[in-house]
């Protein structure tokens, strides 16, 4: 996957700080940022919301055949996390054993390297999650 410099730069608030949006009209939180509330459309009004990074495991899998750029990370756990504010996102869970992980386990976001373009390319940072003991 090719990740350009402007794309990476544009996504820093979301990838580094879990910046999302919330619709003032219906109170629904969204991650990543959206300009239009899909529920309220033009009746909605979006404002910024920074998520706490606290959440629970909604579903998970252990990836053993990785996509390009993730070869040195396998096996790794990929999960859908339900954030405590209400939105869901896809992320890796680190420092955990897939055999012991359960749906509903509490997790917290951590700042990690996501992938690297090539030996001298960009290093992409962002969120992963780990279990709250």
């Amino acid at each position: 996957m090719r990740q350009s410099i402007p794309l990476t730069w544009r996504r820093i608030p979301e990838r580094y700080r879990l910046q999302g949006s919330k619709c003032v009209t219906c109170k629904t939180p969204y991650f990543p940022t959206r300009n239009v509330c899909p529920a309220c459309r033009r009746k909605g009004k979006m404002e910024g919301l920074r998520f706490s990074g606290k959440g629970k495991v909604f579903s998970f899998t252990e990836i053993t055949v990785p996509p390009a750029g993730f070869e040195d990370q396998v096996p790794y756990i990929l999960a859908i996390i339900e954030l405590e504010e209400g939105a869901r996102l896809t992320a890796q869970i680190v420092d955990a054993n897939a055999k012991e992980l359960k749906i509903g386990d509490p997790v917290q976001s951590v700042f990690r390297v996501i992938q690297k373009d090539a030996d001298e390319g960009l290093i992409h940072y962002g969120f992963k999650f780990r279990l709250v003991k």
């Binding site: 990836i63 990785p66 996509p67 990929l78 999960a79 859908i80 869901r88 992409h124």
Partner: protein, 387 residues
């Protein structure tokens, strides 16, 4: 709206076709479909072609013009349609609407994908574009991974087991073994599926559809003149399409595809039919869990009963509804843009009684179900004998 029929249907062999290129495949399927329909190029008034990723897989865009050129159909207008793995069904839907509206009478619809010119890592990366590139794939998701997240949740909520998933693959290989166009004409055992290499737990390599080259095509005409071309026109009773969030994590539930549910409900309402009327169905089994969810979302079985029904053989020959007689995506293969059209070809053969070796006895009504990505697009079509 006019009633629309398929008057000709054809497909290439599906598989790893090293010796054949994109244009060879699409031209073969197109010519065979025209021959089968007893029409000439000069009879055609428009064409639609479904391909997901020709630009990245073979470096070729502008597919409509390429096909018109290589089939000798210039200046016929041919339009490319894209909706990830549902591109084929979307092309068929465009053709249906074109004929139904009265704009054109004889329309050819194709689907094609040439996938094996690149290595597996490159192809996987390209297929990832069917999901949310920035918020799924960038973070390490793969397509088997996304369907594994659905499988895990389906197991958690309904007690679905790995054996139930495996039963879908075993059944589809049993069907595919009877289909000379299938990529894998070989039966597999439950043990082989369960012991195969893990890709994204709980999904294993034999839970996944393969990377495939292939093309399929059908010719459409208004039903009232279809008999001029063929004794056995197959009516497309209705077509319905629905969309859902591009990212899986934004769905309320992971145990079914809302786009499928909505499209199926619309299709059954318009056709004034119910799920129990369907005798033969081609459903989108890109992964075994996808077939389990599909037979629930289409209304063949209640939610949560798709796994047990599959394990008990209710979707095989002699069951309530025979699912994926072609072998499905799993055994027949999944050239992504071709799949939606191939499904229509298989149902045409079934309703005409031409599905040699895998014929569903007295099949009158059939259904196809084609999904894009992890369920952001779904198309459901219903067919019946038009004679």
């Amino acid at each position: 709206m006019r009633r629309v029929a398929i008057i000709g249907a054809a497909m290439t062999k599906f598989g790893e076709l090293w010796e054949r290129g994109f244009r060879d495949l699409v031209v073969e399927a197109g010519i065979k479909a025209l021959e089968n329909a007893n029409v000439h190029g000069a009879d055609l008034q428009a064409g639609y072609i479904g391909t997901m990723a020709s630009g990245r897989l073979v470096g070729q865009e502008h597919i409509g013009a390429l096909i018109a050129d290589y089939m000798g159909l210039n200046p016929l207008p041919i339009t490319r349609v894209e909706g990830a793995c549902a591109s084929g069904a979307l092309a068929l839907r465009q053709g249906y609407m074109d004929v139904a509206s009265g704009m054109h009478d004889i329309v050819v619809v194709g689907g094609v994908e040439k996938m094996t010119d690149l290595d597996i890592a490159q192809v996987s990366d390209i297929l990832g574009g069917a999901g949310d590139q920035e918020w799924e794939l960038f973070l390490g998701a793969t397509f088997p991974g996304l369907y594994a997240l659905m499988a895990r949740r389906h197991m958690y909520e309904y007690g679905t087991t790995e054996e139930m998933l495996a039963a879908a693959a075993v059944k589809n290989h049993k069907h595919g073994a009877k289909n000379k166009f299938a990529q894998y004409q070989k039966e597999i055992s439950m043990e082989e599926v369960l012991n195969s290499k893990r890709i994204a737990d709980p999904l294993k390599v034999f839970d996944c559809s393969p990377i495939t080259d292939g093309a399929a095509a059908v010719v459409l005409a208004p039903l009232d003149i279809a008999k001029k071309y063929t004794e056995k026109p197959v009516e497309i009773v209705t077509t319905a399409q629905a969309s859902d969030t591009i990212a899986l994590h934004n769905r309320k539930t992971l145990t079914g595809l809302r786009a499928t549910q909505v499209a199926a409900k619309k299709a059954f309402e318009r056709a004034q039919l119910k799920p129990s009327d369907i005798q033969v169905a081609e459903v989108h089994d890109c992964f075994t869990i996808a077939e389990i969810m599909a037979i629930e979302d289409l209304g063949f079985f209640p939610k949560g009963q798709g796994g047990p029904a599959t394990l008990e053989g209710k979707t095989g020959f002699g069951g309530d509804v025979v699912v994926n007689t072609s072998g499905g995506l799993k055994s027949c293969g999944h050239p992504v843009g071709a799949t939606g059209v191939k499904q229509a070809v298989e149902i045409t053969w079934q309703l005409r009684g031409e599905a040699t070796g895998r014929q569903v006895k007295d099949a009158e009504i059939g259904l196809t179900h084609n999904v894009g990505g992890s369920g952001a697009t779904a198309v459901v079509n219903i067919y019946r004998k038009g004679w």
